[in-house]
Symmetry: C2
């Protein structure tokens, strides 16, 4: 070898002798004056870290456990093999008791709950027979007669308000690679539905039909199949224009067609099967309630790895947006939930929109939803914007994630894997927050869905998580566990 691996004085001289080539970051004062002097300038998108995170980022970077912990976290997420294995009830599968209710997002009390969460809780109290009128239900809640907890604390995820009560049927998903399970209720369809905070008689009637007819039918079908490979369906759905959070058309169509033969062979009568299929056909989001527990079953094994800055949950309760990191245990780091920006249904204005709500950000946490939006350019007809924005959204997420999913791939990006494994330190370092694709709930309890769009998670949640993780890091000069 004759070439030197280190820069020689000759190279430095050449650098100074040649025409200057400048890369500039930050405000354009420098680049503008250089350009005025005829110098070529490359503007790069470097931004300073989020205010106040500099020392914490340095301390986390020096944590010798971090690289390995992050690698393990991401390897576990992408190794998931989620299968739909059954249908149960929240009482049976989760041990939920009368008077106990789960909800989306980080823990919240009734007093702080927004309209749609209150509406869904009222509906669930009526459904469970704890109250016979909405006013009665509200009074019960106000005097603290019900017990609330986060879905995430009970191996469950709930879209939008995410309210789960004991009698509700739940879909059971098992991650065959790790043996852990996750759950979600069945999707009710669009419009006036409990998860968007509606609680009128038609909402309760539908929920009763779902418990009496839909859930047993699903249980019989999946029982006959043994299990349904959800990752295989997701792989297909990404080739069919779904991003699997706000667009689930392909996933839903693929599931319904897989269920028909076992539904019929399980001995259900034809008219019941016809009703069930028609219900699912009318609900382009049916698959979301399988995709969400699949995503949670994938991210849960990545929890509790000391030193890891990987995000294992993002969830909103309609008031706060919260995240959990692998390296910080069960702590939630929260900031104010923002109002999603997108397209509102006819008859609603921006003032009708509630701040962001739901556990469905588990899809983004697992590398889908907004992160896979390049797979779903047609979604812009539902949330606004241009197809180019959808592609750009996915591309930008590679900057805050640690891996490309080996199975979940995006055809138009030459089958590149979706960006997966959000690293909170990359969010803090760049100021780029996760792209989240979501439905918009009406602000007033009882309204239902009013639109769909994108929402900006609060950077403060990521800042606080990074600060907390830094405190858990070993002293830079101390002994390492």
């Amino acid at each position: 070898m004759t070439a030197s691996p280190t820069p020689s004085h000759g190279a430095a001289d050449a650098l100074l002798a040649g025409r200057p080539r400048v890369a500039a970051a930050g405000i354009d004062l420098l680049s503008t004056s250089l350009r005025d002097q005829g110098v070529d300038v490359l503007d790069v998108e470097w931004r300073p870290p989020v205010e106040g995170t500099g020392p914490a980022l340095a301390r986390i970077a020096a944590d010798p456990r971090r690289a390995e912990a992050n690698r393990t976290a991401v390897e576990r997420i992408v190794a998931a093999e989620p299968h739909w294995v059954g249908v149960s009830t929240a009482a049976e599968a989760l041990g939920l008791e009368r008077g106990q209710f789960l909800h989306a997002g980080p823990p919240i009390a009734w007093e702080a709950a927004s309209g749609p969460l209150r509406g869904a809780l009222i509906g669930a109290m009526l459904l469970e027979g704890l109250a016979s009128t909405p006013e009665e239900a509200e009074a019960l809640a106000e005097r603290g007669a019900i017990e609330l907890d986060s879905c995430h604390h009970h191996r469950t995820v709930g879209p939008m308000a995410g309210v789960v009560s004991p009698s509700m049927p739940v879909l059971v998903v098992e991650n065959a690679a790790f043996g852990n399970r996750a759950h979600a209720t069945l999707n009710e369809g669009l419009g006036k539905v409990l998860r968007y905070g509606a609680f009128g008689p038609e909402v309760l009637e539908r929920l009763r039909w779902m418990a009496a007819v839909l859930a047993p039918a699903m249980a019989a079908a999946v029982g006959r199949l043994g299990s349904l490979d959800l990752r295989a369906i997701e792989v297909q759905a990404l080739q069919m224009g779904d991003e699997l959070h706000n667009r689930n058309r392909a996933g839903s169509a693929l599931v319904v067609r897989a269920l028909v033969p076992p539904l019929l062979e399980a001995g259900l009568d034809g008219s019941t099967v016809a009703d069930v299929v028609r219900f699912i056909n009318g609900n382009e989001h049916f698959f979301l309630n399988l995709g969400m527990p699949a995503a949670k079953s994938a991210t849960d094994p990545a929890r509790d790895l000391p030193g890891s800055s990987v995000v294992v949950a993002m969830a909103r309760n309609g008031t706060e947006f919260g995240i959990q990191l692998s390296g910080t245990g069960d702590r939630w780091f929260t900031g104010p939930a923002q109002v999603p920006q997108g397209l509102l249904f006819s008859g609603y204005g921006p003032e009708d929109a509630n701040p962001d709500i739901g556990d469905s950000t588990i899809m983004e946490t697992a590398g889908l939803g907004g992160f896979a939006m390049a797979a779903a350019p047609a979604i812009v007809g539902f949330i606004g914007g241009r197809a180019a924005d959808a592609l750009a959204a996915t591309r930008s997420m590679y900057g805050i994630t640690l891996a490309e999913h080996p199975h979940l791939r995006i055809p138009v990006l030459e089958s590149r894997g979706t960006p997966v494994g959000i690293d909170a330190t990359l969010v803090a370092r760049t100021g780029t927050v996760p792209v989240v694709n979501t439905g918009i709930a009406g602000r007033v309890a009882g309204t239902g869905q009013v639109g769909a769009g994108l929402v900006t998670p609060p950077i403060s949640a990521f800042r606080d998580a990074v600060l907390a993780l830094a405190e858990l890091a070993p002293e830079p000069d101390g002994a390492v566990a």
Copy 2:
């Protein structure tokens, strides 16, 4: 108004006084020497017209009927409202009699037929009971005891060999905008199937099951629905990664889920419905046999417009690739069918591939298939190449078509309409031939499918069509009809 609408001397002076800006076409000799002299050159992709078409193109361009005729042709194609309205038999719907067989592509005699067409005819003769062994069938065909004609001459299109015999069930599609109908047999699935020239016992058994079970079930379901809007399904399928020639996953899934409730409500027993759904679920091309008659029902009303250079059919019989123009009536203009280039199934080599065959190019004729490939980047896993090639294929087709489809749109191209209305004069002027996405049949009768890929139509067919159209144009100095 003070600005002059015509170039002033001042403008011409400025043009000469300024730095020259040059656009160059053809070989790069000119651009290279200009660049050597420091002149900016824009290389454009102009190519001379296809050899021998210059005078014909000039004469067609001077035909005063042309612009209006082409506008009408394209308006009719895009105004189509194809609905699946029923299931019949070729005997009943087309008047096909014992001993008569339809086939894909331009007319051809047994002597000139390739392996897969011969194989499919042998199978159809066995199915109709005209022969009891393949040898007997072959002998019958050799002594001219069967009558052959093109599907296209009988309001029918057939994928691959496209053989239709009297007892075969046909799907009936009606274009509600014009009242015309088109037909196709039901799709058999992949592998060893009649349309790829296989004729073994399993092929015939499947065809008998299709006539006895599948077709009556489909008839009952569509009868109960009244009709099924195929354009609405195609609009969705293009948002779900289908290009609707070589990728029909979404279309097939959307149809099956729409059929289940009426299948059950038509009183069919559950196990029959389960069998039918399982058959369709196992056949990602089920929708093709609805899409093809939908496309034919769209292009047929554009026929017979004097002066129009719009292509109304492209079809291959395994030996020749033929096209028809609106302005040249029922004449076929043919050239040798090429062997598709793509991916071959395991165990087959290039020598096993038959030249291009099938009426399925009706999809490209109607602005789908290869023309819509940008909607289906995942198809490259099936036919080879890169996603970028799929996008480029669609983009290049805007150069030889007259319109963008107002309904059939491609999300990733910002919902631009698919390129539709191939103008044969644009093909001759540019040398750019239609991009065709297709299956590859085995060369030897009885083999079945061996792969899938892209095929290059012979430019000579377009040249001959343009020459013939020019002969029908009025004398440039003569009276105009």
